[in-house]
Subunit: 592 residues, 2 copies
């Protein structure tokens, strides 16, 4: 069975030595000293290892079952869910007035990583609830907040997001679900939604569905979509549960992975719902929390790669096969461990340098979200809005790639379900698709975010890279291995962005044909910047006489690896982008 240990040391390094959390002037951050975050992360890590990891394969094998209208989650899920509720793990960053602990979002993010690595399907029940909580917190009336938030905070009730219909996923303007106004101010909701994660289950006494629907007579397309609160069970004003609402799970989908999460077809049959936010402003309400939701999915990508990597390292150390080309390293054994072989090293370094870079990138993103929300900082908001599609798209594409690479280390055993490596890849695969498929992320990045506010945010990003390079300009120990490759990557990114500005107006296809490559090019520069920062922090620790030299030297070496072996991708992406759309759009549809 695969194992998982929370990488608390690396998390702490990023939170404190790279980001210097408690030194930041963000409300709530002063309390986030290393002792506090270390204690929380250790405790979360124990739960991840002891409670959630053992249920991961159980969830994959049993899946969720719909029987007589009731959805049954896998054995042990309910008890674990109760345990996490009781421990207060569901409400870390929820508002104190609704029973939460009011911690910054970055704390939720780090804890979330351990739970997602341990059991992604399980953690989605809480993740969706967090999204519903945020939408109601931001757009609900006081009465709605009082009614729904306390139970969502604790996960006594869970939440869902209902967007997709059979004929529309990305293009929600085609939606058919109807919301007919009733005399009492409620709406009668009728329609079918598909791919509803955590749509129904047996772990909470109520489920609060947030449902997009059209009010008849409203504007056409996406401008006529409104958001509704539609509970599974009706709730009286005093909070007691009443009759079942007209909401039912019609089917559980058979999926490639995340079997432990119930992906439901949800039927709304004259169900009662209440408008959340304004009429016809449903998309805005649904997407208010988009940066957080998409960061959470990017996290799923690298968190699956992390747990897959940990197991690949164990296997590479344990499995004896072949001899080192430079001479036996385990001469008394029948063979050397896999880890002596350069190609195994190469793949493990690929995985390690990605996962640690991705962690730093994601925590930086969570940090920006805290700054945007808690300090009302428009610059931080603009920057995280720009980076969000990169975090979501790049980290999930790469997360799947490296989870697959980790599986490869196991050889044939990686293909057998018993060993658990296949599940990491299968589970990671969904993160590239949901919460906006990665092609949509690339479109959002190139078609919208780049030019937002006159390109101010991307210029801001380049300034950050430039400042970093300038600050360490004289450091010869970092120049060739770290700073020069980062500079080259950043130059490729600037060139590609410039290309888009020049051609985008004349032929938007020239920009959009390079969108996925641009997202990856941007991702590499972001991870390069993170590795630059981590290298600087590691060097400072070593210069300061830190005791754990192995850790810091590994950081520096891994930074150099990323620059030597991953950053060369930026030139490739740039070349592809700057070849334009001519070869991409040359064929007529019938010629494919």
């Amino acid at each position: 069975m695969p194992s998982y240990t929370a990488p608390v040391k690396d998390m702490q390094f990023i939170l404190h030595e790279v980001l210097d959390l408690s030194g930041q002037d963000i409300p709530g951050y002063a309390d986030l000293d290393a002792d506090f975050t270390g204690a929380v992360l250790e405790e979360a890590g124990k739960i991840a290892t002891d409670v959630l990891t053992p249920l991961n394969q159980v969830g994959d094998r049993q899946g969720c079952v719909l029987e007589n209208g009731v959805v049954r989650t896998p054995d042990g899920f309910r008890a674990a869910f109760d345990q996490l509720k009781e421990g207060g793990w569901m409400s870390l960053d929820a508002a104190e007035e609704f029973g939460g602990q009011g911690l910054p979002y970055i704390m939720h993010t780090a804890v979330n990583e351990t739970f997602v690595s341990a059991n992604m399907a399980f953690n989605m029940y809480q993740g969706l609830t967090h999204g519903a909580y945020s939408a109601i917190l931001t757009h609900g009336t006081d009465a709605q907040k009082a009614k729904w938030l306390p139970k969502l905070t604790t996960c006594e009730w869970t939440g869902t997001m209902n967007l997709t219909e059979p004929h529309c996923g990305t293009d929600l303007g085609l939606m058919r679900t109807k919301a007919v106004p009733q005399d009492d101010g409620s709406y009668e909701i009728t329609g079918q939604k598909i791919f509803i994660s955590a749509g129904d289950h047996d772990m909470a006494e109520n489920i609060v569905h947030l449902v997009l629907a059209k009010i008849p007579g409203g504007p056409d397309g996406i401008k006529g979509v409104s958001l509704f609160i539609v509970p599974k069970v009706m709730v009286d004003d005093d909070g007691t549960l009443g009759a079942r609402n007209g909401v039912s799970c019609g089917k559980i989908e058979e999926k490639m992975g995340i079997h432990g999460n119930s992906t439901c077809v949800m039927n709304y049959d004259a169900a009662t719902g209440w408008l959340l936010g304004e009429e016809h402003k449903g998309m805005r309400a649904m997407f208010t929390m988009m940066n957080e939701a998409r960061l959470g999915v990017g996290l799923q990508g690298y968190a699956q790669a992390e747990v897959a990597y940990q197991n690949a390292v164990d296997y590479a150390n344990d499995r004896l096969q072949g001899r080192a080309v430079t001479g036996a390293e385990n001469p008394d054994g029948p063979a050397d461990p896999l880890i002596v072989h350069p190609d195994i090293r190469r793949t493990l370094m690929d995985q390690k340098s990605f996962v640690e870079g991705a962690r730093a990138f994601t925590y930086w993103g969570a940090n920006l979200i805290d700054r945007a929300h808690r300090n009302d900082d428009a610059t931080a908001l603009g920057l995280i809005s720009l980076l969000t599609p990169v975090i979501k798209g790049f980290l999930t594409d790469k997360g799947f790639e490296f989870a697959t690479d980790a599986q490869q280390v196991y050889g044939g055993h990686g293909y057998i379900e018993e060993w658990g490596m296949s599940q990491f890849a299968r589970d990671a695969r969904i993160a590239m698709i949901y919460e906006g498929a990665n092609g949509i992320q690339a479109l959002d990045l190139v078609g919208r975010k780049l030019a937002l506010d006159g390109g101010k945010h991307v210029m801001g990003f380049f300034d950050i890279v430039k400042s970093f390079l300038k600050e360490h300009d004289g450091d010869e120990s970092l120049k060739a291995g770290i700073l020069d490759p980062l500079k080259a990557g950043s130059k490729d990114l600037q060139s590609a962005a410039m290309y888009f500005m020049q051609v985008g107006g004349k032929n938007p296809n020239d920009a959009l044909a390079g969108s996925t490559d641009f997202m990856h090019l941007f991702g590499h520069v972001c991870l390069g910047l993170m590795w630059g920062r981590m290298a600087v922090a590691a060097k400072a620790a070593l210069d300061g006489g830190a005791s754990d030299r192995d850790f810091y030297e590994a950081k520096l070496a891994t930074a150099r690896y990323y620059m030597a072996r991953q950053m060369p991708a930026t030139a490739m992406h740039r070349a592809r982008i700057e070849s334009g759309s001519e070869t991409v759009m040359a064929l007529a549809p019938a010629q494919f």
Copy 2:
């Protein structure tokens, strides 16, 4: 349900306009004119579409079941297997003296592609039999050939390859299965083998296992391994079936994919076997057919990408979602089809340019194998030995990547098993692992094949590229879009090969740390060469006034796409390779 149509037009184009089969001086090739191969491929395509495609999802869902010692294949497999046997499809390239049709291997390869695209798991039963047939044909005594080959030719009996044991896959020298000589000249075989594809099933009355085992007292390690014929059911000299041998299936593995194929734990419990080939020369006998077996696996990689691509194209044409950025293309419909979007085009072009390039590469490889075997051509043998790890490793890595990309076109529907796209990716995944994991292919390429015969074969490959470039040097219409990028890619490959020669002697890790990148770099140059040849052939057809201009113009455009969008990868791989092993090997195992 996914569909599949054999790409006969493209196959014919490669066989005749690119490779000019019937013009080649290889025994048997004169008969392979376009009418003949077209008729065979159309007929094979019908079976693939009508018989095998409908069973693909059935096989995935039902899998194989072991009950009371008997392995049951999925519903419909046996009837389909009988139908293919009766149609003579199993014996296309088997020797006429044993009941085969004696066709060249390239014909088997093209037919095999359609069957693999339609149903990879099903086709493996025949594929393994083909391997066992070849090993006995090459290494068997006349009596062994007479006894085993006629039934293997027709697939009345099927075959298996037994290499892996629980503690050894790649490093077969660690093997524990024993073969004790008996007075009657047979051997008593005892041990356990795992991951035995088609190890047991209900579609043939006998199964001929080829089993690697050690004769006690022989040399240590890989030099003490011998190969044995061990039938499931004993066969009398007159060919009648006797008692069961001491061979049994202990378990069927639960796998990520190819569920329709029974992957068995095979227990040999004092089973009776007969030596095939010489004592202690088992590896040589097992690997005689390695080029063919590995080419067959490379084919699986692109064949899965092909069927996934076909379905992605259909979906992209059918699914209405969003509007073209350059103005509505389906103004009367609620939205435009996905295929109008540049990023969808980009991914479909990636898939198309890979699959068609891979097909040409694989058929060229099969052509070289025919030339090596039928003309006893040492140059062809040397070249295909060099290219085999590239065909296997590059085409399966990329085949999985592009099957996954095709899945991505479906958005959420791609993750749901009902639509079948997940299966293509899951099935394709195994091809990266078995028949020598791709890391081993890269090691074989860089550690062995490159330097073989003083580097003669890689120099031969470079000469082929150079001759091609020289031959078309004056063609301005091909220069910028085709020839220059191919030349640049080839230069990267030469530079990387030169780097290995310079550093490999001093520190072999410097070469091996770049082995996987080199395999991919080599693969891109091979596909680039194929696209160069296809572009020349397409241009000749257009210049000659061919009627199907759409097809040839698409070929030219796709060639330009490959050069613009895929060939830039060669510079990245070269940069990674030439960064050496320092960053790759920097960490101690405990630092991971």
